[in-house]
């Protein structure tokens, strides 16, 4: 078991969020918004999709040393599960579900003759004798088998749950949100099962330039996207909360200094600040090659640093709105009363101000998440994002953008990264809408 820096922070974040979820669960002021979120169908469905992505990301964050004797690679649980897909690498490009390579080569026939054709893939559709005639039927059959198996498993699990509930004299009644959630779980479960089943026979999303499975790359990229989205907030929140509340509460020279700091940081275009910092890290790494021997560790440090610098550039917005809210709150009667009763200022901040700005923090965290995932792709394109060896959607797009000019075009890398990124960001955006609706005080009575 090996814990990378980002891994430990991710698990810290998971623990903190679970703890704070249970903490607010019984707070009366959180009841109504939480209930509103639970009743919102779009919100719950997008939350389920997010949780699906997060669980894949968590699987990919448990690293250990590979016990295969010849290599000392650090791999994750996800790598271990997806070992078949990972090892099925071809020579170069191949289209989704292809049985032949994208490019033509000279093939030696049995009798020594040479001809110019698309060679067969080593793994994709290798079980077929006559791929031209069989493969459409085979794909349909395999898809059906995968779907049928997974539905059977799903129904069995459902039946067991139902039976346990009956056994314990409870009946499960599903409202419309529950039904929709169940349906989406079914779709997610069967489609991922079918895809995994198919991917041991074919490359469901093709292979890239060096013959690596694109489906595998897209799945591995999930962790990078999530790390960028979540760890950045971990960096940003303490800065924004501490500075924002202090500026609003103490006013005077504290406010002046904090306002000066965030205006200065804000005035630098964030892309340039990120570029400058990443260039500096590159110089540092280039001059200290001894400290970064393992490529995975190096990539991990760069990812962590990217989160750090993104956090530094993005806390200013939240800080400003927290300052404005605190300015309002400190004039409220209950804060004035606490002050008049001689409650210590630190206590007022902790007991009265902080709980009443937490909804702004939550809204901004979910709103920022999607923009951070999108920003990662852009930054990787400019070469100031994650390490080129890290799997990420940005790197996939970056490697694939020249392939559009080829004839016939290589579209699958772009499509795969588009699909994964779009579904994650869309889910995050929809959930963010639902959360900000639920916590918006102006809509409290509807």
């Amino acid at each position: 078991m090996i814990i990378l820096w980002t891994d430990s922070l991710i698990f810290l974040l998971v623990l903190v969020s679970i703890a704070s979820f249970f903490y607010v669960l019984h707070k009366p002021q959180w009841q109504r918004p939480l209930e509103k979120i639970v009743r919102n169908k779009t919100g719950m469905l997008s939350l389920l999709v997010l949780l699906f992505f997060i669980s894949i990301g968590l699987l990919d964050s448990l690293h250990f040393k590979s016990n295969q004797s010849n290599s000392h690679e650090i791999i994750s649980v996800l790598d271990y599960c997806a070992d078949t897909i990972k090892s099925h690498s071809e020579k170069t490009y191949s289209a989704p579900f292809a049985t032949h390579l994208y490019s033509k080569e000279i093939i030696l026939g049995d009798n020594g003759s040479k001809h110019w054709a698309h060679p067969r893939l080593v793994y994709g559709g290798a079980h077929l004798q006559h791929p031209e005639s069989e493969y459409k039927k085979d794909i349909a059959l395999k898809t059906f088998i995968g779907f049928a198996k997974s539905s059977l498993i799903f129904v069995l699990i459902g039946a067991v749950c139902f039976a346990t509930a009956r056994f314990m004299d409870k009946t499960i009644v599903l409202n419309s949100v529950g039904k929709a959630l169940l349906l989406l779980t079914f779709v997610l479960f069967t489609s991922s099962y079918t895809l995994i089943y198919l991917s041991s026979y074919y490359h469901v999303m093709g292979t890239d330039k060096v013959g690596e499975d694109v489906f595998y790359q897209a799945i591995k990229s999930i962790r990078t996207g999530l790390v960028i989205g979540f760890l950045t907030t971990l960096v940003m929140l303490p800065l924004a909360i501490v500075f924002g509340i202090m500026a609003g509460f103490f006013r005077g020279w504290v406010d002046d200094i904090i306002a000066y700091i965030y205006t200065t940081l804000n005035s630098i275009p964030s892309v340039l600040l990120i570029a400058a910092s990443i260039l500096m890290v590159q110089v540092y790494v280039a001059n200290h090659p001894d400290s970064f021997t393992n490529p995975l560790l190096r990539a991990d440090m760069r990812l962590l640093f990217l989160c750090l610098i993104l956090g530094v550039t993005s806390w200013t917005g939240l800080c400003r709105s927290l300052r404005a809210e605190t300015l309002k709150l400190r004039e409220m009667e209950y804060v004035q009363a606490a002050q008049a009763l001689g409650v210590k200022r630190a206590m007022i901040l902790y007991r009265h101000i902080l709980p009443n700005v937490m909804h702004i923090v939550l809204i901004s965290v979910v709103l920022d998440f999607s923009s951070l995932v999108l920003a990662e792709a852009v930054l990787s394109y400019i070469n100031i994002g994650v390490d080129p060896t890290t799997y990420s959607w940005g790197n996939m797009i970056n490697n694939a953008r020249l392939e559009m000019a080829r004839e016939p075009i290589v579209w699958w890398s772009l499509t795969a990264s588009f699909l994964f990124m779009f579904s994650l960001v869309l889910a995050a955006n929809l959930f963010a809408d639902c959360v900000s609706d639920a916590f918006d005080p102006r809509r409290s009575r509807t």
Binding site: Y260, I261, T263, T264, L265, N266, S267, I268, P269, V271, L272, L273, A275, A276, S277, L279, M280, Q282, V283, Y284, A286, N287, S370, L374, A377, V378, Y381, I382, N383, I384, W393, I397, R401, M404, I409, L414, F418, M421, F422, V425, L426, N429, L430, D433
Partner: protein, 323 residues
């Protein structure tokens, strides 16, 4: 009024000084000039002599902030030569030996040629669509519109550019795929970048303007206007749009100066010789002098934008007190 503007203007100096110190720390203190030289020369075993020559060529062979040997201990330092000189827009020469100031002057106009039409057309499209959605509020059309906006927002800007280039230039062959030309000949090169910039901004833009309009819709004067018997469209265009123009315009003023900086992505994909592609090239070549100049230029333009916003508030809205 004049006093207020001077006050705001003076506040810009400490901000720029802060930016300057931050970039100085980032570029010279975190890594010494020796480290940069080693990175630029790129070989594993370079002699100290080679490093010294490189430093001398690029003017990095001075102490950082205090030069004991020189007659003027402050002037002959890296901080003074490289950072303080930025205040008078003396950007110096880039690490590859070109004059940065001349490059910037030449390259800001192509950036503006793309960014300005994108802003104007985008504004028009976003505001009209947002008005449409507000007009049809509480109907299925509104839900559909918002849903479409969320979907448009969830697509990375890279896909808009790649998809647009592929569809319009490669399949339909309507416009050239990339390039730039000055004057009237340049228009055909500008169509696609502007179009893509507008489309990729629709999602977030329409949602933002919609919230602005919806805030106005609930106000009392709108109810009065309706009570007078005005039709919904009249209320929308004559009252709501007029009043919402204030936050819209002041929101635009702050980004006006930044239009010169151009867009990194658009310019690099369409090979437009503007400041955005200049920056990207500098980042890829690891040309620290250019990146440092662009950081400073960007913050100057942003601070000018803030100043203009303050001034325009006082000009447009008499309720704003000058303090």
């Amino acid at each position: 009024m004049i006093y207020y503007i001077i006050h705001r203007f003076l506040y810009a100096f400490p901000l720029l000084m802060g930016v300057n110190i931050l970039t100085f720390v980032l570029f010279f203190v975190v890594n010494s000039p020796d480290d940069m030289a080693r990175m630029q020369l790129g070989q594993k075993h370079i002699t100290q002599q080679a490093i010294n020559i490189w430093k001398q060529q690029h003017g990095y062979d001075l102490p950082l902030i205090w030069n004991e040997k020189a007659d003027n201990p402050i002037a002959e330092t890296i901080f003074y030569q490289k950072s303080v000189h930025l205040f008078v827009f003396d950007f110096g020469i880039s690490d590859s030996g070109r004059n940065i100031g001349a490059d910037i002057k030449q390259r800001m106009w192509p950036s503006l040629a793309v960014a300005l039409p994108s802003l104007v057309i985008g504004l028009f499209v976003n505001i009209s669509l947002a008005l449409m959605i507000v007009l049809f509020r509480n109907t299925y059309l509104e839900h559909l519109g918002i849903m479409l906006c969320v979907m448009l927002m969830s697509i990375s800007g890279l896909f808009y550019i790649i998809g647009g280039q592929f569809l319009l230039s490669k399949i339909l062959l309507l416009v050239p795929i990339s390039g730039f030309d000055s004057g009237v000949n340049g228009i055909k090169f500008l169509i696609l970048p502007v179009l893509i910039a507008v489309i990729s901004g629709i999602g977030s833009g329409v949602r933002w303007y919609r919230t602005l309009f919806l805030e106005e819709v609930e106000k009392d004067y709108v109810r009065t206007a309706r009570a007078k018997g005005l039709s919904e469209t009249q209320v929308l265009f004559k009252h709501i749009l007029k009043n919402a123009m204030l936050p819209i315009l002041t929101g635009i003023v702050v980004i006006l100066p930044l239009l010169f900086m151009g867009s990194l992505l658009t310019e690099s994909f369409f090979s437009i010789p503007g400041l955005g592609s200049y920056t990207i090239d500098a980042i890829n070549r690891q040309d620290f002098a250019i990146v440092r100049s662009m950081v400073f230029l960007g913050s100057v333009l942003y601070i000018i934008g803030l100043l203009l916003t303050d001034i325009s508030y006082t000009l447009v809205d008499p309720r704003v007190r000058l303090s």
